[in-house]
Symmetry: C2
Subunit: 324 residues, 2 copies
């Protein structure tokens, strides 16, 4: 392989940081992981990022000069054009010019993106959406993230904030959303929406597995706990999950009517843990909820956590080579 | 002007057909209009289309050889790639290969599109959205049509059916939509949705102007009648219109969150007749209903009926020259 044929994908998560050195077919040749220091502030976070990148380079046994670009995916609002993190409250980061700070220290061009854009693009270049051109990516989790690929390119929109599929209104006047609106797709279909109902069920004695594993604390209702309760045959839990899946399908149906896409890819913890018990009701509802009769397949993301790393790396190359 | 520097835009409406010969800056140099023969069937409709095109050429004083393309906008489902009208029930047309039939008779390449795509593209090339690149066009009327321009190109999607913004679900379980779903944007914000409430008001004696001008027949509640009732200060009518405008803004807010566009252009009869009394509540609601804080301007279409003619012509040129 010629010099500078590697690329680094970096997933700057709220709890852990993951850097992978990838070859030109996006296969991992070296990797490093560090705990994200909670509430650390800009300077400490930068030094952890630098260390993680250097560790990944060591692990791969290559030099920074052999790396064309670092693509960093961030789970929060960024200014893509300026290469700046606007805020990562959990991490204690605010107004951080990560692109310029990091590339000055490490000598490699850096590109910032949000994690859902990266995850969608990763599935497009190397995962379940490979070979398609117009792709809708949706990642239900704490919220509902979205990414849009049009003609093989990530669509960012005017201010780089496009793709907020979780905030389309599907139930005007409905449940409160974390964004301040009511009835957003996220408000009715995210894992948080499910958790709010499940802790209610736990409280009234109708979800014993939830009560045992998570108490009545919504932050403890993870996808694995939900799966256990469903496997235990807790009917009330199954109904809550299926209703959230139905709502998600309603939102996806709207996306079909708007985009007439080639494929819809669904990722994140609910999809990974619950599998067909979740995907099938989502798909039934999506088919019922679009007018154009779209036959676009609904596929589960196939790269797991790597989708974000691969996508961040691929977006960085795309930006440096094509100016997109 | 060199030979073949003209283009014809053709608006194949349900009640009238309009052909305009346009120069290379989309200015009209000749025009012809004919009544659409209701329920005539494919053969008679084709002969009326041919006659209208020939009359427009005569009016412009130019020969068919000087025309590069005819763009035809159709108010119903088409197969763009095949150049076929799938169905125009009012007009009595079904499975009509208009592109091939017309170009065989007239010797000019023909391109078919739907009328809302054409209207949006017309406003982009020569109207209120000129100079922008990512444009959402919405035309509330009998239904709510939508068109999407991304990076300066009409976005059609996988099967050419993209842009059905009127069928995003905003009020799941809400009012019935003509498409068979419930709570579509069209179901709660179209002129038909308004008319359904206004004939109810007319029936119970709360909308005297509506009763006088339209009776209790929803097909007679046109935008001009609604305007009269609002101008007469009929409070119940104003509330119904403002509620529909509010709903439309909710749907547009979702479009902002999805697309982060440069501009939103609003056209059609309600916008033309009601002006600011309609646009202002739509805009307030749109601003309240997006999460990303988009500052995209909401502008009224400026070309009137010409937007469809100009857009159809421009789309035909775009297709022949760039294969889009």
């Amino acid at each position: 392989m010629a010099a500078a044929d590697y690329v680094i994908g970096f997933d700057m998560g709220g709890t852990k940081m993951l850097a992978s050195v990838l070859d030109d077919s996006f296969a991992t040749v070296g990797t490093a992981k560090m705990r994200t220091p909670p509430g650390a502030g800009n300077d400490e976070v930068l030094s952890v990022v630098v260390r993680t990148v250097r560790d990944a380079l060591s692990d791969a046994g290559i030099d920074a000069k052999q790396v064309r670009a670092i693509g960093i995916a961030v789970p929060g609002p960024i200014d893509h054009a300026a290469g700046r993190i606007i805020a990562l409250t959990n991490v204690g980061v605010e107004k951080m010019d990560l692109r310029d700070l990091l590339s000055a220290q490490i000598g490699i061009p850096v590109v910032l993106d949000n994690d859902v854009n990266a995850g969608t693009f990763g599935e497009y270049v190397a995962g379940a959406a490979k070979g398609y051109r117009d792709v809708i990516g949706v990642f239900p989790g704490t919220g509902v993230g979205g990414g849009i690929i049009i003609g093989g390119h990530l669509y960012r929109g005017h201010g780089g904030r496009a793709g907020e599929i979780g905030h389309i209104t599907v139930d005007v006047g409905g449940r409160m959303c974390g964004c301040g609106k009511y009835g957003c797709l996220e408000a009715v279909s995210s894992r948080t929406a499910i958790a709010k109902d499940l802790v209610h069920l736990a409280m009234i004695g109708e979800a014993p597995t939830i009560l045992e594993r998570a108490g009545t604390d919504i932050t403890r209702v993870k996808s694995g706990v939900i799966k256990r309760a469903m496997n235990a045959g807790e009917e009330s839990v199954i109904r809550v999950v299926e209703r959230a899946a139905w709502y998600l399908g309603v939102g996806l149906g709207s996306c079909l009517d708007i985009f007439d896409p080639d494929v819809v890819v669904l990722g994140g913890g609910l999809v990974e843990k619950l599998g067909d018990a979740y995907l099938q009701p989502v798909e039934r509802s999506m088919r019922d909820s679009n007018m154009i009769g779209s036959a676009a397949p609904l596929v589960a993301a196939s790269l797991g956590d790597d989708s974000v790393v691969v996508g961040a790396a691929a977006l960085a190359l795309e930006e440096l080579e094509n100016g997109r």
